[in-house]
Amino acid sequence: MDLRLTPEMEAFRDEVRGFLEAHRDHYAPGAAADRPREAALAWQRLLIEHGYAARTIPKEYGGYGAQPDILKTRIIAEEFTRAGAPRGLANQGISMLVPTLLEVGSEEQKQAWIGKTLRGEVVWCQGYSEPGAGSDLASLQTKAVEDGDDFVISGQKIWTSTAAQADMIFCLVRTEPDAPKHDGISYLLFSMKTPGIEVRPLKTMTGSAEFNEVFFTDVRVPKSSVVLGRGKGWFVANATLKHERGMLGDPNATEARLHSLIELMKTETVDGRPLIADPVFRDRAMALQSKVLAMKFNGLRGLTASMRGEPAGMAGLVVKLQGCELNHQIAALAIDALGELGVLYEDGPHLRAKGSWQWNYMFDLGLIIGGGTAQIQKNIISERGLGMPREPKLAKA
């Protein structure tokens, strides 16, 4: 146990800090859900050039080409947060497709897509879930029928964020309807401009459409769009999902939220008394702080394991379940402590933090459900983490 940094790492921290100070004028956020604007693209290029984005992606594919160094990655993250500097582009193309192509893409696919995706020139969306295939993703029904050199795709996807802005989609389709369900799926890359694709915004309880439904009617794409090979889609997708799971439950973000909550409780009053002076709410805030700290150090422990190439084990398996729940609980306490003010939303002079506590309360519930419901997470923890039996097969009805 030694949380101090080596002189080399301290030097690296200074370097990052220096860069951020020198380039303050170039800061340009690229919101996840939109097409990035030119300033954001320029900032992204600058970050790649200095190794603060696409750091470990090989140079030949448009990355910076550094060796993986989780500690440096973390220092970069910390310094960007500290400076309030935008982290460069974060979208599903960069977080999910790029690692997948690096792992299982053909050389041609890597050349074609990785660089452009990293630089934000191509924006992707993800076509996985379907109305009938959520927790049971492998039962997906969108079919791709062979026709000459093409597949002809029909079906529907759901929970597709960025679909309206995306140039391209990475999409799971059923190419072999007669194969066992996990073996009949292929992973395709194709343009969202292809005729026959319709995108409908999917409004959620927050009132905004964070997702879309995507409908395919006889969408024709060349067979060369397949990644890895026909029937290999389930394998490819699992490589990708692995990368997604890591994105949920960032303890630093949770810590920042708790900090905001405590600030809120210090500044807001009821009957002239600060909310934090209420012992019941204060006790809840402190109980949440216990959990936030535990998750933070659990993250550092996982980081150390990753640095050594060791599996994170149980410490990793619990992150999604506990992290999402914690965020939800922080928002719940903010709402409760605000009392009647806590129900306000959307607009109005009495609204606090632009209604973000209620927004988070609802959106975080979506995260508890999405990307593997809490029930699926508990299955995973008990089966993979504790070695308990899988759900037994049922007798035929």
Partner: protein, 358 residues
């Protein structure tokens, strides 16, 4: 000894529930939610036929002369239907007038209220749920000054019962000079809240210490509204779980999903009796009326949050979409929880009532 609602009450509630299925269909609720200009007049008018506006108003003034228990059963039905109807004012303003109004005031207002032609609201947030953002209304020489927040139905009310900072009640006409109203947008798109501003507004005082009685009734009504909404969320979860298939079986056959549903039912079922009793005790003037109204509010606040969340989880991704509209119930319950005091504040008050807190 008969701890149950009468056949008449049951019939009234069932009829109301059935009618609200039409009057306040999900499509109608959606339209109301999406249009701030939509005052829900059709819904209110339809409810006139049920005598809902005059539920608590004596027959001599044109009402049904019923009791809080009946109002609570109606509130349950409104919660079930997430009906775009402010109901607190329709119940509480008559209670205030009957309890503290002069014969003149009663004759002036009660018949119109009973007919539903006059709409009422009550502005009692600050003395009950606490003062925030500098709110509070001062009364001096028959004039009100200040502002009050979170007034359900305050935008359209023709008559407003206002509690001043000392807890005394005043009648204010909706068209009084110096009165301003502003929408306060909340998560619950089915009931609109208002901020009311008073710039030396003429007001008539009501006599007596009526605020506690209004508070008790309001808490019971909000609890009942949440109870109705919870029932629907449980029913919808059970129905969805029996229809949605994953892994080749209905998800309702997974023990985790079954237990989520069982836990919701186990939390909510005892609350039904608590809400009924609270209203009955209020009607009969029993010693534990105030305490039980408080506990009903607090209990449903907590159980409501659990049910709203758990039912959404049972629905999986569909639960958070607007397609299904489940969120209207989720948010209705969310407002019921906070309005006129969240569970912690209400419990603190329950402790004070028993001499357990200073």
């Amino acid at each position: 000894m008969d701890f149950s609602i009468t056949a008449d009450q049951k019939l009234m509630q069932e009829t109301l529930v059935r009618a609200l299925g039409e009057i306040s269909s999900l499509d109608r609720v959606r339209a109301y939610a999406g249009d701030r200009g939509d005052a829900g007049a059709d819904v209110w008018n339809a409810l006139k036929d049920f005598g809902l506006p005059g539920l608590l108003i004596p027959e001599e003034h044109g009402g049904l002369g019923l009791k809080l228990l009946d109002a609570v059963l109606a509130a349950e039905a409104l919660g079930r239907a997430v009906a775009p109807v402010p109901f607190l004012g329709a119940c509480l303003a008559p209670l205030a007038l009957i309890g503290g109004g002069s014969q003149d005031q009663q004759r002036t207002w009660l018949p119109g209220l009973a007919a539903g032609d006059i709409r009422a609201a009550v502005a009692i947030s600050e003395p009950i749920a606490g003062t925030r953002d500098g709110a509070g209304v001062k009364a001096e020489a028959g004039k009100l000054t200040g502002k009050t927040l979170f007034v359900e139905g305050g935008l359209e009310a023709d008559l407003i019962v206002v509690a001043d900072t000392g807890g005394r009640l005043h009648l204010v006409r909706g068209d009084a000079a110096g009165l301003s109203r502003e929408l306060m947008v909340s998560i619950d798109q089915t009931r609109r809240l208002a901020e009311l501003g008073f710039d030396g507004v003429a007001a008539e005082p009501l006599s007596g210490d009526l605020l506690p009685r209004l508070r008790d009734a309001a808490w019971a009504l909000l609890a009942a509204d949440a109870l109705g909404a919870c029932d629907v969320m449980i029913e919808k979860a059970v129905a969805y779980a029996q229809e949605r298939k994953q892994f080749g079986r209905v998800i309702g056959s997974f023990q985790a999903v079954k237990h989520m549903c069982a836990e919701m039912a186990a939390e909510v079922e005892p609350a039904r009796s608590l809400v009924w009793y609270a209203a009955y005790a209020f009607d009969e003037g029993l010693d534990d009326a105030s305490l039980c109204c408080a506990h009903a509010k607090a209990y449903l606040g907590e159980a409501g949050r659990f049910v709203a969340r758990t039912s959404t989880e049972v629905h999986g991704g569909m639960g958070i979409t607007d397609l299904l509209g489940l969120h209207f119930w989720f948010k209705r319950i969310g407002l019921d929880r906070q309005l006129l005091g969240g569970p912690e504040r209400v419990r603190d008050w329950a402790a004070r009532l028993q001499g357990l807190a200073a």
